[in-house]
C-alpha cells in the first residue's frame, strides 16, 4: 500500500518543471540546516513527540537531516524521487502512528515554507521571473509533500485506530479458563450493542472450545449499566443456558440492581453474586456438586 | 486439474407454496450468504430470518416467493431478502411488529424476531394487496460470480 503512495508521490514530484525546482532548491539548500532545524524544533515541541524528543540524540538528528538533504539533492539533480517519496510516506505514517493531530504536524512541517519564502525573495528580488518560477517550484513541491504526508498519515491513523480498538476489545474481554469446566470473563469498559454481541459470541465460542459448564461474567468494570445493557447480559445468560452452561453475573451493585428492577428488567433471569471472588466460589460449588437443575 | 467452481448467481427466486419451500428458501439463503463471505454467525442469522418470513408467507398468505439478491452498499456487499406474497395483507403493521412472545402467545408473528436478526428491515403491506418484507444483512466480502460468466 505504501508503495502505491510513494509511486504516486514520485510521479508528482518528477512532473514539477525542473527549472522551477532548481531555483527553489538553490535557496533551500543554502539554508537547509537552519530551516531543517527549525522544523525539527517545532515537531519535537509537540506533546506527542515528548517521549521521542528525549530519546533522540543531536547526532541522530544531524544524520537524518543529512540523509534527507541527499535525497532531495538526488531528486532535483537527477529527477529520481523514489527515495524521497518513500521518506515522505514514512513521515506521514509516523505521525499517524504517534497520534499527532493533523493540524499539529501540518503546522510544524509547514514552518519550512514560511522560513524559505523570505530567503527566496532576497535571493531573486532583482529578477521577477526567477522569483516567480522559484515560488512556483516551492509551492508545487510542498503541495506534493504535504499531500503525500497527509495521505499516509490518514491511512496509518485509520488502521492504527482499528488495531487499537481491536486490542482494547481483546484486552477487555479475555475469556479465562480458570479451571476445567469454568470460564471467567472480566468485562471492562463501555458496553454498547455491538460489543455486547461480540462478547456473547466470544463467550459461546469459548464455552464450546473449553467445554465449560459454568461461566462467571464480571461487570465491575462496566461504568454504566442501564436497562439496555442489562438486557444484553440477560441475552448472554440465556444463550449460554441453551448450551447447558450456567452464567453467574458478578459486579452488579445492589443499587444498580434495584434501579434496573424499577425499570422493569427481569433480573430473576440472572444469577447474580456480589463480587468476582464470590462468583468464582459459587462456580466451584456448582462444579463440585455437578448439579444442574433439570427443568429449571 | 480444473478447480470446481461454484458460481452463485447474484439473484435467486424461491417459490414458497408449501412448508418444503421454507426449507428450500433456507438452503438458498445459506448458500448465498456463504458465497458472499458472511461470517458463520451472520449466515445463521440470515437463514433463521428467512425461515421466519417464509413461514409467515405460508401461515398468512398460503403462497408467495422469497427473493434473494446480492446488493451493494457504502460498506460493501450484502444479501437482500424479499419475502413477497399476495395474501390478505397486514392491517396494522405497527401492531404486527410488536413482540408477541413475551405475552406467551405461541403464534406470534416472526416479524419482530426477523427484524432483530437483520441489519435493515422494512415492510410494505396493504390489506387486500399482499405483503412485502425486505431485509438486508451486510458484511459480505466475497465478490459473487455471475452464473454463466466464463471462468
Amino acid at each position: 500500500m505504501s508503495t502505491t503512495q510513494s509511486a504516486a508521490a514520485t510521479t508528482a514530484l518528477a512532473a514539477i518543471p525542473r527549472n522551477q525546482l532548481m531555483l527553489f532548491w538553490k535557496v533551500y539548500e543554502e539554508r537547509y540546516d537552519e530551516v531543517s532545524a527549525r522544523a525539527t524544533e517545532e515537531l519535537l515541541a509537540l506533546p506527542e513527540f515528548a517521549a521521542l524528543a528525549s530519546q533522540i540524540t543531536e547526532e541522530e538528528t544531524a544524520v537524518r537531516r543529512e540523509a534527507t538533504r541527499l535525497m532531495l539533492n538526488q531528486g532535483v539533480d537527477t529527477g529520481s524521487w523514489e527515495a524521497y517519496a518513500e521518506n515522505l510516506v514514512a513521515q506521514g505514517e509516523m505521525y499517524g502512528e504517534m497520534g499527532v493531530s493533523f493540524v499539529s504536524w501540518f503546522k510544524a512541517v509547514g514552518v519550512v515554507r514560511n522560513v524559505i519564502l523570505p530567503h527566496l525573495v532576497t535571493a531573486f528580488g532583482e529578477s521577477t521571473d526567477d522569483l516567480v518560477e522559484g515560488v512556483l517550484g516551492m509551492d508545487s513541491f510542498f503541495d506534493v509533500a504535504m499531500a503525500t504526508i497527509g495521505n499516509a498519515y490518514l491511512v496509518k491513523k485509520e488502521s492504527t485506530i482499528k488495531v487499537q480498538q481491536d486490542a482494547i476489545r481483546e484486552l477487555s474481554t479475555p475469556v479465562l479458563p480458570l479451571r476445567e469446566g469454568m470460564l471467567v470473563l472480566p468485562v471492562v469498559g463501555v458496553v454498547d450493542s455491538h460489543r455486547a454481541h461480540q462478547l456473547t459470541q466470544d463467550l459461546l465460542e469459548a464455552i464450546r472450545r473449553s467445554r465449560a459448564t459454568v461461566a462467571v461474567v464480571d461487570i465491575t468494570g462496566v461504568p454504566s449499566v442501564d436497562s439496555k445493557v442489562a438486557n444484553h447480559f440477560i441475552q448472554t445468560v440465556e444463550a449460554a443456558k441453551l448450551m447447558g452452561t450456567t452464567v453467574i453475573l458478578t459486579g452488579l451493585s445492589p443499587a444498580i440492581a434495584k434501579a434496573l428492577v424499577t425499570l422493569g428488567v427481569d433480573l430473576t433471569k440472572l444469577n447474580t453474586v456480589g463480587d468476582l471472588r464470590g462468583g468464582v466460589e459459587e462456580a466451584e460449588r456448582i462444579l463440585d456438586h455437578r448439579v444442574s437443575q433439570i427443568g429449571a | 486439474m480444473d478447480d470446481l467452481e461454484i458460481s452463485v448467481s447474484s439473484s435467486r427466486q424461491i417459490p414458497v407454496i408449501s412448508e418444503e419451500g421454507i426449507v428450500l428458501a433456507r438452503q438458498a439463503g445459506r448458500e448465498m450468504s456463504a458465497a458472499l463471505g458472511l461470517s458463520g454467525t451472520d449466515q445463521t442469522l440470515v437463514v433463521t430470518a428467512i425461515s421466519e418470513v417464509a413461514r409467515n408467507i405460508i401461515l398468512y398468505a398460503g403462497r408467495g416467493v422469497v427473493e434473494l439478491e446480492v446488493t451493494t452498499g457504502p460498506n460493501g456487499y450484502g444479501l437482500r431478502i424479499r419475502a413477497v406474497d399476495e395474501g390478505p395483507g397486514i392491517a396494522d403493521i405497527e401492531l404486527a411488529m410488536r413482540d408477541g412472545y413475551s405475552t406467551g402467545r405461541s403464534l406470534g408473528l416472526g416479524l419482530p424476531g426477523a427484524r432483530r436478526l437483520m441489519d435493515d428491515f422494512s415492510i410494505t403491506s396493504e390489506p387486500g394487496q399482499g405483503t412485502t418484507v425486505t431485509m438486508v444483512k451486510w458484511g459480505g466480502t466475497a465478490v459473487p460470480v455471475v452464473e454463466g460468466a466464463s471462468p
Binding site: 454481541h197 456473547t200 459470541q201 459461546l204 465460542e205 464455552i207 464450546r208 467445554r211 465449560a212 459448564t213 441475552q235 440465556e238 444463550a239 449460554a240 443456558k241 441453551l242 448450551m243 447447558g244 452452561t245 455437578r290 448439579v291 444442574s292 433439570i294 427443568g295 429449571a296 | 412448508e19 418444503e20 421454507i22 426449507v23 433456507r26 438452503q27 445459506r30 458463520g40 454467525t41 449466515q43 445463521t44 442469522l45 437463514v47 433463521t48 425461515s51 421466519e52 413461514r55 413482540d99 412472545y101 413475551s102 405461541s106 406470534g108 416472526g110 419482530p112 424476531g113 426477523a114 432483530r116 436478526l117
Partner: protein, 115 residues
C-alpha cells in the same frame, strides 16, 4: 427424512441431522413419543450438534415435545446447540423455557448419571 432413534437401556438418543422441514419435526416427535411409551424410559436426549438453524417453529416444537415427554414420565435433555444457533435463538427471542440443556452428548450423559 427418517431421524434415527437409539435406545441405551432406559435412555433414548435422538440425533437430528441437517435441515429439518416441518413434516420431519412432526414425524420425529411422533416417533420419539412412541419409543418413550414402548418401554421404561427415564431420559430422552435430543442431540442437535449437527443442526445449523433453529427457527421459532423448531423451538416451539422442542418445548412442546419436552412437555409431552414429561407427561409420559420421562425427562428430555436438549444437547449440542451450537454457538451460532444459540446466538440466533436469543436474538430471535425464541429460547427454550423449562427445557434442560447440555453442551453435548457427553455432558448430557454426565448430567443423567450425576444430576
Amino acid at each position: 427424512m427418517a431421524v434415527p432413534i437409539l435406545r441405551q437401556g432406559d435412555i433414548l438418543l435422538v440425533t437430528l441431522q441437517g435441515d429439518l422441514g416441518d413434516a420431519d419435526w412432526a414425524q420425529m416427535t411422533d416417533h420419539l413419543l412412541d419409543r418413550v411409551a414402548e418401554r421404561r424410559t427415564r431420559f430422552a436426549v435430543l442431540d442437535l450438534s449437527v443442526v445449523d438453524v433453529l427457527d421459532s417453529f423448531a423451538c416451539r416444537t422442542i418445548v412442546g415435545l419436552t412437555h409431552m415427554v414429561a407427561l409420559r414420565g420421562s425427562t428430555m435433555i436438549v444437547a449440542g446447540i451450537q454457538p451460532n444457533v444459540a446466538f440466533a435463538m436469543v436474538q430471535l427471542g425464541a429460547t427454550l423455557p423449562g427445557v434442560a440443556t447440555a453442551l453435548d452428548l457427553d455432558h448430557a450423559l454426565t448430567l443423567i448419571t450425576h444430576g
